[in-house]
Symmetry: C3
Subunit: 296 residues, 3 copies
């Protein structure tokens, strides 16, 4: 029949296209860390740092040892498998000795992350407190943890950043993208963020790979901490391209701060929609000069 | 084995961290209204206000009574359970008499919301109509209901706002965050919004808790209706901190309007990227004076 | 019992509201293309254009023919069913001959899209390459495909745009909204976009129905390519209302370009936050004149 023949031809056309464009296929290649899997991993890690908040299970004195032990054991296996896949994709021609090394590194990273989680939780205590202090509409720590996109974003970032520092390819960026998809907040896993950090609302916030942020910093929706225009991709890689914010800086909605040598001094306040490409001294307040408005 | 020992140590470290930071745990405490459950509740409520739009089931004259009755009965139970959890979290030391009271209030709120849904639907008829009139690309009411983030956001808000007015803790804010995650539109459940409301596109829109909006208002993406800088959290709580928009106001993309005493008079138009912290009289058009551009 | 009676009354109130507001119901009407189904369709299409990237299945030389054939056959059926529903909703009074015609058109469109996918993949090769060249933080094609919202958005758009051109109602807009929900990038399926297109970050980007974009164009987060204020809905429909960007144009974060007669000439650069409602000649750089900042 005509329809059958056309379908067969369409399938053949697609298979043929797979043969032509190797670089956007992963047919014969190593299995990739799939997005579904990374999403599940991130969710499990969120459960682990905020126990009792996201799941339906009951945790109490009697059961928590087992529930947490079981969760950690599963996470260890899953995270290690995803890390291994990420290493393999980077180096697809590796021999069996190299593969054994990769497997071992993946195991070490996986245990390593679990060991770092208590430290991550210490930081998150401060972040939740900062949200409670920073937003008059915040009613309780529970509300903040369950419903503030900024808290979700910094939690995900503090975890992804540890994996980034341990040199895991792809996975940290995939985690940050899952969180961006959920919150509208786009933080590169390479960014370094100090204690007691708060993002209010946050949709549209962009923070680049080499951003450095001190303690007690507060950012609003639509803030960009970005790079100045890039000439060559290769010349830019590895350099500090994004700003530094010292302690106690506040940046209001829609402000854009660009450049790797731009330093916003301690305690400064940057007003809404300000566009800055140079440093300001500690304690400075920068606002747009009353923009001329026409009233008709 | 070494790996086993390390895993056991990591688990012990995490359990130890749970003991240290009580305020970001819900181990021994009352079960929280989980995000998964709240998402399901909101989806069921969306089904109920727009029957036949989101689900796969068949609704017709013969079956709709049963389908709708069944959906309402399940919603009654689920909503009541989540409300009860939300009350419990607020007051964890309550005795059994207080718990019985909470259970009864949760039941009343749950029935109460179902009773309010026809009224919510009356408002949504006007909102769908406003979207059809406001966007030349809109092809049909079906398209608008199925694919306009602004319609999804106002639907979710009109439901969450009723729960907010009935004094349910946490749940309304969690609903608005589920919708923010899906649409990029961040409306606090406390905001009061009049009839025939339309948000076009909407990503990045932020509307604060004490905002008041009249009838036939139209907002675009990236609009902020926010608070002026907050000095003390406690001094700000409960006060009107966000603007008032009277009837037939239009606010274009990226405009920021701040302050609890700021009133945008009836029929006014606020241009894109305008930054306003004071009131304007009815019928005013405010635009940025031609911003100086450099052409090189 | 009182509770039972109240629940029954609430159900009756909701059913009564369904009878009153026909235009926001789909009770007796044709089944709609549900959002759940459209999401699944889009995911299947993403699998097909980037094989091995999103799913968990193993694809290799031996199995890929069968896996791909099976996927195409299922897609053919599902897409045809959704297209048929979309046609039916447009014309609910149709007779059985018209319904047979609709069914056949739906089949043709469904095969037609499968036939177009190799061409879509040819375009995507250039888009992935553009992302790799445009972002110094991009580590590999794999990372770009798996975690860049801009790549996800253009992939979804190139598919939805084909369905739009074939005249399928509702479905293309629903696909673009699923992607907007995931990425914060809001591209109308009607927009025409040339080769090697790159969106960096992208949250808050809005691109209208009649936008025309050349080759090697680069856009950042928060860019609006929109319409000038619309007087009458009907007078605006079908006209070119959104801008044209010629080849090799770059538009930085937060810039707003409006109007159907606005043409940004080849090779031009538009700076961050610029607001433009008229054309600029090829090779122009437009930036905000140093906005006056107050330092306190």
């Amino acid at each position: 029949m005509d329809r059958e023949r056309k379908l067969a031809q369409a399938v053949e056309g697609i298979l043929d296209s797979y043969r032509r464009h190797g670089n956007i296929n992963h047919l014969e290649a190593t299995a990739l860390p799939s997005r579904t899997r990374v999403t599940r991993l991130l969710d499990e890690l969120m459960h682990l740092v905020f126990p009792g908040y996201f799941g339906e299970e009951n945790l109490d004195e009697l059961t928590s040892n087992y529930v947490v032990g079981d969760r950690c054991a599963r996470l260890f296996r899953d995270l290690s498998a995803v890390c291994y896949r990420a290493f393999r994709v980077q180096d697809q021609e590796c021999d069996s000795a190299q593969r054994r090394d990769m497997k071992q590194r993946a195991d070490e990273i996986s245990i390593g992350l679990l060991e770092l989680l208590p430290g991550v939780r210490d930081m998150l205590v401060g972040d939740v407190q900062a949200a409670l202090l920073g937003d008059p509409a915040a009613a309780s720590a529970e509300e903040v943890i369950l419903s503030y996109p900024g808290v979700q974003a910094i939690t995900s970032h503090r975890i992804a950043h540890e994996l980034f520092k341990m040199g895991v390819p792809m996975l940290p960026r995939m985690m940050s993208e899952v969180t961006h998809s959920r919150t509208g907040i786009d933080i590169h896993p390479g960014a370094t963020i100090g204690a007691s950090f708060f993002i209010d609302h946050g949709t549209g916030l962009v923070m680049g790979e080499t951003t450095q942020i001190g303690a007690r910093v507060k950012l609003y929706q639509g803030v960009t901490l970005g790079a100045l225009s890039v000439r060559g991709r290769d010349e830019a890689r590895g350099k500090k391209r994004h700003p530094t914010l010292e302690d106690e800086v506040t940046i209001y909605a829609g402000a854009t701060i660009l450049g790797g040598e731009t330093v916003i001094g301690r305690g400064s306040t940057i007003g809404g929609n300000v566009w800055l490409t140079h440093s300001v001294a500690p304690g400075t307040t920068v606002v747009l000069d009353t923009p001329s408005l026409l009233f008709k």
